[in-house]
Symmetry: C2
Subunit: 187 residues, 2 copies
């Protein structure tokens, strides 16, 4: 049971359609979960069958109709039970790290290229997170918002995501520069 809870948590902030959730899982939640639309539609159908969410049809003239979902009391209870269950640290699975692990025995050139590309996308994600954080805290400074705000969960996970991407960026840049320097001095 895994994606279930991520979906329930995402639906706490209001009604969403499968399509909208797919967007959310692509950006805001992407620091700790990712899912393709197909997976979300399947999970939403399952959650609705089990009564953890309810959907209502919204007829649209200009666009295809959609279904918006809300968490039920049963869904909230499920989330509470989940939060009370010990979680084990789930690992990162990063192809790029596997490549760097093996880089001494391979041609480093393609790895360097990928590191530099990743540094750029990580930097872009940091900026996205910064804008999301700003929007969430509004006028308040961070400290005040975290002390007094009434919806700080998404802010806190966003902070974690920001740090992660920042670290990612710094690491990628450092490793790329290092491998470049080594490649230019025949070993």
């Amino acid at each position: 049971m895994a994606l279930r809870h991520a979906v329930l948590a995402a639906l706490l902030d209001g009604e969403y359609s499968g399509y909208q959730l797919a967007k959310t899982f692509d950006v805001s939640l992407s620091n700790f979960w990712y899912a393709v639309p197909q997976q979300l539609y399947a999970e939403l159908a399952k959650l609705e069958r089990e009564g953890l969410i309810v959907g209502r049809q919204v007829i649209q003239r200009d666009r295809p109709n959609k279904r918006l979902f809300t968490v039920t009391d049963a869904g909230l209870a499920e989330l509470a039970a989940f939060a009370a269950t010990p979680s084990k640290p789930s690992s990162i699975r990063e192809d790029l790290l596997v490549m760097v692990q093996a880089v001494d025995r391979l041609d480093p050139a393609p790895v360097i290229v990928q590191l530099e590309e990743r540094a750029v996308t990580a930097a872009a994600k940091v900026e996205i997170f910064d804008r999301m954080l700003q929007r969430m805290r509004g006028e308040l400074d961070e400290e005040t918002f975290l002390r007094e705000g009434d919806r700080i969960g998404p802010y806190l996970t966003c902070l974690r995501g920001r740090r992660f991407e920042q670290e990612n960026r710094e690491w990628c840049e450092r490793v790329a520069a290092l491998l470049r320097a080594r490649a230019s001095l025949p070993g």
Copy 2:
């Protein structure tokens, strides 16, 4: 195709049995990949069938016999092809982050407990990484080792893992303290 390459990368540093690999995938490689023994035995069998690794039987008197595996030239070629394939960032899937995302709508107590536990295990992992890093660089200081060492891949991934766990620890501690403070002020 995923675990394959992590296994091949792990086997670059010498011969390992399935059992030993399972240990490795539990600690050193755990910053970017984790696999249970069953998965490793299955993957090793598959890699051997495909000629990417070769195994040799080692008879032991005091213990059950074991098979040690080495990467073949074909295996190295497979790794090189992998390193030249664009990788997409694969996401973190953290139950604990899902819990924090939802924490405003739940009883925060069990989440706080888990955050504090996780902070402790993250701190322990930082120390493990520190010892691994020290062992790898030996007498040299980090800068010199990274400039001149001939097996820096594992060192670099270990650095990333260390940073990740350090960030994890700081975040968990901060969030736990914050939620505790908020819980004591009825809100």
